[in-house]
């Protein structure tokens, strides 16, 4: 069973606010799922490379050119931002 402190630590890493009740519930449910993962220990994985891609593709690149539409696209995206000041995205103070 993972500890309450671990749950709190993970929640902080995930930037997820959890209530005391949610922390308790999460502790129980995460432990159950983690127990379920124990099945994976039965399998011998020595010498096996981790999977990276379903289909082999390498260095997919495109020409580095400016799109004509870029400005209107930017405007559309900025319209979705809740708080804007002088064309910048506004957040709470970082430092």
């Amino acid at each position: 069973m993972i500890s309450k402190d671990e749950v709190k630590h993970i929640a902080r890493l995930a930037r997820l606010g959890l209530s005391e009740k949610e922390i308790q519930k999460m502790q129980k449910e995460l432990s159950l799922v983690l127990d379920y993962f124990e099945k994976l220990r039965e399998i011998d994985i020595s010498g096996i490379k981790p999977y990276t891609h379903a289909i082999k593709t390498e260095n997919v690149t495109r020409e580095d050119k400016i799109e004509k539409e870029l400005e209107t696209k930017t405007q559309k995206l900025l319209k979705l931002v809740p708080k804007i000041k002088e064309g910048y995205v506004k957040t709470k103070q970082v430092l």
Partner: protein, 477 residues
């Protein structure tokens, strides 16, 4: 003639013969939505104005005696995780409740070019995380075959919309069965293409190495028509690939070898479901195909556990973008930046989403990465290797889609693990990126049951052709 029951080709022919107009057709479906969807709850947004303007455009083309594409004027429903320009896209989440997509997903752009008529956006589990559509932040969708039961998930709204004839066909997304399982529960054809066959541009990301877009349709023929339009390389998705042309015109049933992985018929499967699926496979044998029992040792229980390590890891990374700053729900009051993140995400995400973000963050965190994520990715290699080995001996594999028919609303909600187990036959194929199709093959107490045909990468045409052989026989009965 009930216009809402027609297939794509029938609609096309009807439009060409002027038996009905595209506008009349759209109005029939819109009326159906108004009437039926109060009970079924398949749609989150009905795009009436868009549908009518698209239908009128097709009618104008017909009036000018110009050619119309096969999908021109055909009503379509789209899972709410796929972006349509200027239409709300919630992904079933409160955090995107008021999000209006600023652009079209590539598959939508292609379908619009073919004259598709978009009826609306369909309900789903939040960010596609669920197997019943009960995890939608808005409301659950009901199975049109039995309204006390779930339509499956996460593309449950898309499946219910087509099954209730509120749309001719629909788009869904499949990360671990989210097209195939609802297709099985609702008596439809559901195709999960090869990873990379359909561009993911405009698909709201859940687990990027596992997400696929595909069609839910009434027939295999319809699935083929839609797949042929939406597939192909796209510069906006670097994992998309050029479509491989595999010629299957010579497909003869006598030359087909079918593999039956024994692990898919082990404990846990409903006996009636097993009987129906085995009978479907047997049909191929009587038609001349060869059957061969094979073993894919890690493809059920281990695959599901592997999936539940890899998927949440990718979820935790992908969903980090929802911070309340760039778009979506945000906390009205917060003390400082970190408190703002905590509150915005706490208010915006639902229970299952939070659980998976936590699980993924844990699996990727210092000290656990090797034990969970890395180990799972190595097992994923083994799973793919098993499939590759099997395909040296057989052409396709046939399995059940789900261990049971549609379950009752609320039945699995309290126990996350029991919900996860509903996708036990789906995980391995998703992890390996293989194409698979779900085909109706019978009913248990009036509830549809499907079976799954799995193919080699880019052999969509082959599995569809093989599916069609059974479909012809099945619809005759």
């Amino acid at each position: 003639m009930d216009l809402s029951k027609l297939t794509i080709k029938k609609i096309h022919q009807g439009l060409l013969k002027k038996e009905f107009s595209a506008l009349e057709l759209a109005e029939v479906y819109l009326a159906k939505i108004k009437k039926e969807d109060k009970k079924i709850n398949a749609f989150l947004t009905v795009s009436e104005d868009l549908a009518i303007s698209q239908a009128k455009k097709i009618d104008e083309t017909i009036a000018k005696q110009e050619e119309i594409p096969l999908l021109g004027g055909v009503p379509l429903a789209v899972k709410d995780i796929i972006a349509i320009k200027n239409v709300r896209a919630t992904a079933g989440s409160k955090i995107l409740e008021n999000y209006i997509a600023p652009y079209d997903a590539t598959c939508i752009k292609k379908l619009k070019e073919q004259g598709a008529v978009i009826m609306g956006k369909t309900n789903m589990d939040e960010f596609a995380m669920g197997s019943s559509t009960e995890r939608s932040a808005f409301f659950p969708t009901k199975n049109p075959h039995d309204q006390t039961r779930v339509p499956g998930g996460s593309s449950g709204g898309s499946a219910a919309a087509v099954a209730a004839n509120m749309s001719c066909y629909a788009l869904g997304s499949d990360t671990c069965g989210s097209i195939r399982q609802p297709a099985s529960f609702c008596g439809l054809v559901g195709l999960k293409p090869t990873y990379g066959a359909v561009s993911r541009y405009g698909l709201i990301a859940m687990a990027s190495s596992l997400d696929h877009i595909g069609p839910l349709t009434k027939t295999v023929e319809d699935a083929r028509i839609v797949f042929n339009v939406i597939s192909g390389k796209d510069d906006l998705d670097s994992t998309s690939v050029r479509r491989f042309k595999i010629n299957d015109s010579k497909l003869k049933i006598e030359n087909i070898k079918i593999g039956i992985p024994k692990e898919y018929f082990a404990k846990g499967i409903d006996l009636k479901v097993e009987e129906i699926v085995r009978a479907a496979i047997k049909k191929y044998e009587t038609l001349g195909a060869g059957l061969k029992e094979i073993s894919l040792p890690y493809s059920t229980e281990h695959a599901l556990a592997t999936y539940y390590v890899i998927m949440p890891s990718e979820v935790s990374a992908n969903l980090a973008r929802y911070d309340g700053i760039k778009y979506g729900h945000f906390a009205k009051e917060a003390e400082n930046l970190i408190d703002f993140y905590f509150k915005s995400r706490r208010e915006g995400f639902g229970e299952e989403t939070k659980r998976r973000i936590m699980l993924g963050t844990y699996a990727l965190s210092a000290g656990y990465y090797e034990a969970y994520y890395l180990r799972a990715q190595k097992i994923r290699t083994l799973i793919r290797r098993d499939f590759d080995r099997a395909f040296k001996k057989v052409d396709v594999l046939m399995t059940p889609v789900a261990p049971t028919p549609a379950f009752k609303l609320g039945e699995k909600l309290a126990d996350p693990l029991s919900m996860y187990l509903a996708d036990i036959y789906m995980a391995a194929v998703s992890l390996a990126g293989l194409p698979a199709i779900s085909i109706p093959c019978g009913k248990v107490k009036g509830l549809p049951v499907g079976f799954q045909i799995i193919g080699k990468p880019f052999e969509e045409e082959k599995i569809m052709a093989i599916a069609e052989i059974f479909e012809k026989y099945y619809t005759k009965v």
